[in-house]
Symmetry: C2
Subunit: 166 residues, 2 copies
C-alpha cells in the first residue's frame, strides 16, 4: 500500500483552509469553502482537536482555529494524528516483539532504518509547504453558489484510490 488514508488528505485540505483565516471558522463554513462533506469535516476537526493541532470553541459563535501556524505543523504530525504513529511494519523499534520468531526473522530490526528515513522526510515538510504560494484571499472562488461548487474528492470517486503513475 504505502498510501495515505483519505482522511489525511482531507485533513490537510481543511487545515490549509484554516490557515487562510485566523478567525474562528465553523465546520459547516469550512465544508462549504472546501467542498468536503460537512460530517467529514467535523470528523477531521475533532481528530485534529484531540491531537492539539487546532483549538475549538464550543457553543454558539464557536468554531475552530489553528493552534499554531501552518509552518509549525509538519505533515508527519497530521498523518500521526489520523493514522496513528508511523510504523511501516510491526518490526520497528520500540514496538513490542510480537513476531513469534524474532530469532528467525532475517530482517529483524532492519525496517527501523526505512521507517526513520520516511519519518525524517515527513517531518521536514510543513503544511505551509503544501499551500500554493500564489493562493491569496482574492483568488478564492466566490462562495455565491457554495452548494453548486465542485466537490473535492481527493482520490476520484470512480477510480482506484491510488493513481498508478508511470
Amino acid at each position: 500500500m504505502l498510501k495515505l488514508s483519505k482522511l489525511t488528505d482531507y485533513a490537510v485540505v481543511v487545515l490549509v483552509r484554516l490557515g487562510d483565516d485566523f478567525a474562528l471558522q465553523t465546520s459547516g463554513g469550512i465544508a462549504a469553502a472546501t467542498g468536503v462533506p460537512e460530517p467529514t469535516v467535523a470528523k477531521v476537526l475533532k481528530i485534529m482537536t484531540t491531537a492539539g493541532l487546532v483549538c475549538s470553541q464550543r457553543g454558539a459563535r464557536g468554531g475552530y482555529r489553528l493552534a499554531k501556524p501552518l509552518s509549525a505543523i509538519p505533515v508527519a504530525d497530521v498523518i500521526t494524528a489520523i493514522d496513528g504513529p508511523i510504523a511501516l511494519t510491526a518490526c520497528v523499534e520500540h514496538s513490542p516483539a510480537i513476531c513469534d520468531s524474532s530469532a528467525l526473522c532475517p530482517v529483524k530490526g532492519r525496517w527501523d532504518r526505512v521507517n526513520s528515513a520516511i519519518l525524517d522526510a515527513l517531518s521536514g515538510i510543513s503544511l505551509a509547504d503544501m499551500r500554493p504560494p500564489e493562493r491569496d484571499a482574492l483568488s478564492v472562488v466566490p462562495m455565491t453558489e457554495a452548494s453548486a461548487m465542485p466537490s473535492y474528492h481527493p482520490a476520484g470517486a470512480s477510480v482506484s484510490t491510488t493513481a498508478f503513475v508511470e
Copy 2:
C-alpha cells in the same frame, strides 16, 4: 495508513534469503528456511520474477535466483513491485487529473514534494542494508526440524497489523 502490505514484508524476507545463496532455490525450500507459508512464498516470487528482481528456472531442478545483488535492489523497487508505484495520494505528479475540482483543491500538486521525499528515502536503502551484517551461513538455524521451526509472521497474527508505538 502509511503501512506496508504484509506481502512486501514477506518479499524482503524471501529476497534476503535468496541473497544468502546464489544457487537455485525452490519456493518450497525458501518456505522451509524462512517459515513463510509455501503458497505465499510462491506468490511473492512470481511477483518478483515479473518485476525482474529474480530469475526463474522452470522444470525439475528449477528454482529461483536473484537477478542482481541485494545491494542493487533498493527497498523502493520491492514496494513498487508489490504495491504498484509509490503514490501517497492520487494528487501526485504525472497522475491523471482525476480530482473533479482541481481548480478548487488547495493543495493541488503539493503532495508531489512529500511523495518525492519518501521515494528518495526508499531509493537510498537497499536490501543489503536490511540484512543483519553478523548473519552468516553458520548462524543459520539448522534445518533439522524445519516443520517445527517457529513461523515468521511479520505482523503478529493476533495483534493489529501495525504496532502503535508510543
